[in-house]
Symmetry: C2
Subunit: 670 residues, 2 copies
């Protein structure tokens, strides 16, 4: 750490404290924390875990503003460690100290050349220009990312590892970086958000300030979630819910370290976000075909040339190069130094392209000397505001530093391979702005109700759902077969019978549901069978009644639902019903506060969404009605905080204009 | 080219021919091809396209063994070019000359330092050790790959670009490299196989010789297939069929240039193929979780530790490191130099692991100096035959050349990032040995039949299918409603009616299929409706009769089929029926000559294969019967070469032991 501070020529005061050694690294040591002057900004505790709490308390007494605790052996190490961590937190709160760690690798403030980490870092002062802040719960990955980003010449502002987060977590540092004028991009590695709502709010603020948050969060696999529990001692949250909510807050999620670095580079370089697909200039027909494959795979749209762009390109290109996107320039760049200056304007000025990728073959120094100067010349002349990305086709070709620096100065992101460039560009192009979660207005009529607690019967659930404006099948609760007959006559045959009891949440399994009953005799028989089934399934159970409903027209079945998470708040869910959907995990999680229109757009993101559009001659379905149903669920959850969960399974969706209908409903309250 | 030959100190005779310049590069030029001595091995034609055919003819007369033709402007450039290419081919055949090109970038023979290419190449002599041959139809990508592979220190034997393939194609060069003792891995970029069966046979021979063929073939997207047509002037084949057949021939397919390089490196280094999943040693808990996610995504199995390995590791590790896979060694490698020597044996000796990955944090030179020597020491001591892969976690950390060389000498593949290492290892671990296509024995009874040509009726198709041993619903062809009644009584009610005419291949659309007819009155009415429908659909059509079949029990519906491709031969197909399957493209293409067991394994690779195993309480299905049906189709196709296509749609599959049944069948003959 002392070497790091020296390397960065840190000019502030540094006090070393060591009870045993009077001199370290040629500097005088103080014998104890008590000898420190008052008002030290930050104390780094590089001492055994057992001495941490006492040292922290002394620091607090001495007016130290913050602590960095490297020592491991706290919450990650069992019961005693957890107790020690709580004690450390209590001390920090008592004295109002910020704490990084314990079990962390410290931090680097590149702007002021303050490297409070034991990881050797020779380049820990980068005092100019906007850049990226690294923020990682894992200290190892913070260190790895710093090496990686510096290798790719990504300017850094800070690197912080938060470790066990006894007091301050990633959310607090995100708050700080969002307010820091030099930080444009936040590159995060998070294993668990402890204050998710604080994070979501900060992510939205980041975007309002023209900044981006890029998140790598392990846990897409069950195995990783299990591992996180042992590794961090933290409970694993609901990964899919986290994903959906941070996406709606405008966070860019990535899947690997490589992507985290590449997307960060792109965002640091970009002057504006791409608002459409990419135009790609390349130099090989086979590579063009590979690019078409790759872009389809990673989801980067490659728009067709507009008529204007096509005719401009046709004019600028020799006859043997047909205009297209991607554009195969062949080896023409080697013989025509004005090629790029003449061809680039047509795609830079065309609004259907959000970015331009130059995928160039470098081979050797001689070729590079022929190709790069004309490209740089064209970019200097055209000064595009639109994102431009440079990718060398041949990884390892010796792209000279002067070319790389010149490209970066022009705001061009540079990648060692087209695969990486296109993957990162796809993520950035797919990005959707986030929005602050604005809960819908509570409905006073719903908010005023007294709700029983526990698992509700279908009939009770449906009464509440109907009050919330959700369309359900008409029905009556009856207690005798004669009442059932009267109800069937009133509702219209054929009918269904459904046993009702809070102790029978799985009534189908219990044989408590009878379908397609068409006539008195059938009803009498079904009634008897239903009663028998329920008695066999749960002897002695007294039903609260039987729900009689008229059979509804068949249609495509969806599953809708809502639940309240202790940390993340309200989340809605919409998906297809049936076996295939279950195999495909075909559902979408949605935050509270979306408009009906946004809800409907989400339905069209379902894997089997083709089934909603009128697949193979069937009519397009009433997704607007489904979206309204989701909004109604959201209002109900917001109005009645006692509700923990609502399930509508199934919801039948009819052709456009004919609505949607919840065939079953379940409400669970606290 | 002359500079390349000089750089490689090529010792053979080189003749320059130029009618205008007496001296080039300080060498005397001959004024014409006629002045060449007899028996020149290879003539490189770096001349305008218009002069190529004449020069080729003269070369032929002078006994030149082979031609390399750089010139473009042949088949890729329209009608005149195609004619010129055919003339060039005719000349080459007349004189028995091998031809590379036209429209190619030439070749490099690294073993003998012969670089016959105009791409500058300073390292074109690598005279020792086994290595990889690059073979690409695209000259640009051959050049790019050479730079890329040399950057990753992959030893090269040859690099050939075949261009337009007027005479010799990739298949011929594959034949040569399979026979070449120095070539262990063939790295291919192919846009179209012109002689696919030759390639498949060579791929199987490659494997028998202990070699591997790695293939990058654009065309997974529709856009890329369309682009290939304009780019190469070649018709685009059936990409899915190509994929299935080369996979069954043991070819390793990859999706990007990066993967082609990485898989090639791995295969050049490996002493044996991994026969199971990987054990991963790493140094961060967060990275362990990311690795679990990534391995699930790329399909690399990470087996659990065996009890023996777990107990051995527990003994070798400090108490704070719990044995697991991946294993998080924390930073313990920095303080314990014997860590790797003590822990590696437990996974190297455990048969449940097919490979070992060391994913190491390098950070800086100092850290590297602490970590690498103990790792190298352990590997030198243990000399594992099992594949070992080294991945630096921090891309760009300055891994010193001496460490890299030492790792490579120990047969360890080295990757700049764990993502790349694990993706490449997943491909290699998933690899299945190919098998030579052994067509099933023809059935003399089937081979002896005289088959009418064209589209067959269902009843005729089913007669042939039944003769081939395929189970179909019992039925009778009738011509009157009275005959239909008698047939229904004999077959058993309820029945179906199906209009039969070769001019009515889509009989369902025509209203020519009536289902669920249960009784005389219904049958009479259905008969009349059917006749009416058909007359309305195709007025004046005379049916060949009506097929009466008894209704069959419902079950899961599959679609089976077979077709004969002009280039690739017989290919079978099996998939799920229904709308979801169509959305998912859920089908498998299978080569001829698989055993019933192999066919059944393929069925279990379908995306919705869970539906075959007894999903959610339904019984496991009789996939063995379906596999037998596929074998019967294969025998039928093999026995009767006039058959172009067979479709069984649907085939109903019942519970295990209860078989499968083709409900409809269609045969098309040439």
């Amino acid at each position: 750490m002392v070497q790091n501070l020296d390397a960065a020529q840190y000019a502030g005061a540094v006090y070393l404290v060591n009870p045993k050694r009077p001199v370290l690294h040629g500097r005088q040591c103080l014998g104890s924390v008590e000898e420190l002057p008052c008002g030290v900004d930050c104390a780094v505790l590089a001492i055994p875990a057992s001495a941490v709490v006492e040292a922290a308390r002394t620091c607090g007494r001495m007016g130290v503003g913050s602590l960095i605790v490297f020592s491991a052996g706290f919450a990650e190490a069992g019961t005693a460690g957890r107790a020690a961590q709580q004690e450390l937190a209590a001390v920090a709160r008592e004295y109002g100290m910020v704490v990084e760690g314990p079990n962390c690798l410290g931090m680097v403030n590149y702007r002021d050349g303050v490297a409070l980490t034991f990881v050797s870092n020779k380049h820990c002062a980068q005092r100019e220009g906007a850049g990226a802040a690294i923020l990682s719960q894992s200290g190892a990955l913070a260190a790895v990312l710093a090496v990686n980003m510096q290798h790719h010449q990504i300017p850094l502002t800070y690197s912080v590892s938060t470790g066990n987060e006894a007091v301050n977590g990633v959310e607090d540092f995100v708050d700080y970086f969002v307010a820091d004028s030099s930080t444009r991009v936040l590159a995060l590695v998070v294993e668990q958000f402890r204050k998710p709502q604080q994070f979501l709010a900060a992510a939205v603020r980041a975007q309002q300030a023209g900044k981006h948050v890029v998140l790598l969060h392990p846990g897409s696999s069950q195995a990783a979630r299990a591992s996180a529990v042992t590794h961090t001692g933290a409970m694993s949250g609901d990964y899919a819910m986290m994903q959906a909510l941070v996406r709606h807050a405008g966070v860019l999620q990535v899947e690997t370290m490589e992507e985290l670095v590449d997307v960060t580079q792109l965002l640091v370089c970009l002057r504006e976000m791409p608002r459409a697909g990419a135009a790609i200039f390349t130099e090989s027909g086979a590579f063009k075909a590979l690019t078409l494959d790759l872009c389809e795979r990673v989801g980067l749209p490659l728009p067709q040339l507009s008529a204007a762009a096509e005719s401009a390109l046709r004019e600028a290109l020799p006859a043997f190069i047909p205009p297209s996107n991607p554009l195969d320039l062949t080896a023409q760049g080697l013989v025509d130094p004005t090629l790029y200056r003449r061809t680039l304007p047509s795609v830079l000025e065309d609004a259907c392209f959000g970015s331009v990728v130059l995928a160039i073959i470098l081979t050797d120094a001689q070729t590079m000397e022929l190709k790069l100067p004309p490209i740089l010349d064209a970019l200097r002349t055209l000064r595009p505001a639109k994102p431009v990305v440079f990718a060398a086709l041949d990884e390892g070709a010796p792209l000279e530093a002067r070319f790389l620096t010149a490209l970066r100065e022009l705001g061009v992101a540079c990648f060692p391979s087209p695969e990486r460039a296109l993957r990162a560009l796809a993520r950035v192009t797919q990005w959707q702005p986030g929005r602050a979660v604005v809960p819908p207005a509570a409905d006073p009529a719903l908010a005023g109700r007294t709700l029983p607690s526990g698992v509700w019967t279908e009939v009770a659930s449906k009464a509440l759902l109907a009050a919330a404006g959700i369309r359900i099948a008409a029905g009556s609760l009856v207690h005798t077969v004669e009442q059932a007959l009267a109800a069937a006559d009133a509702l219209g045959w054929p009918v269904v019978l459904k046993a009702q009891s809070t102790e029978l949440p799985h009534k189908t399994e219990a044989g408590g549901v009878m379908l397609g009953i068409d006539g008195e005799e059938a009803l009498r028989q079904s009634w008897a069978t239903l009663q028998d089934n329920v008695q066999r399934y749960r002897p002695g159970l007294v039903l609260e009644g039987v729900l009689v409903e008229s059979m509804q027209a068949q249609g495509t079945e969806l599953i809708l639902g809502a639940r309240r998470d202790a940390d993340w708040g309200i989340v809605l869910v919409a998906g297809f019903g049936g076996v295939q959907a279950e195999l495909l995990h075909d559902l979408r999680l949605l935050p509270s506060g979306l408009t009906a229109q946004a809800m409907e757009q989400e339905l069209h993101q379902l894997k089997q969404s083709a089934l909603l559009h009128g697949f193979r001659g069937s009519p397009a379905l009433d997704t607007a009605a489904v979206a309204e149903m989701l909004v109604a669920l959201d209002v109900l959850m917001t109005s009645a905080p006692q509700i923990r969960e609502i399930d509508l399974n199934p919801v039948v969706v009819y052709a456009r204009g004919r609505g949607a209908l919840a065939l079953d409903g379940l409400v669970i309250t606290d």
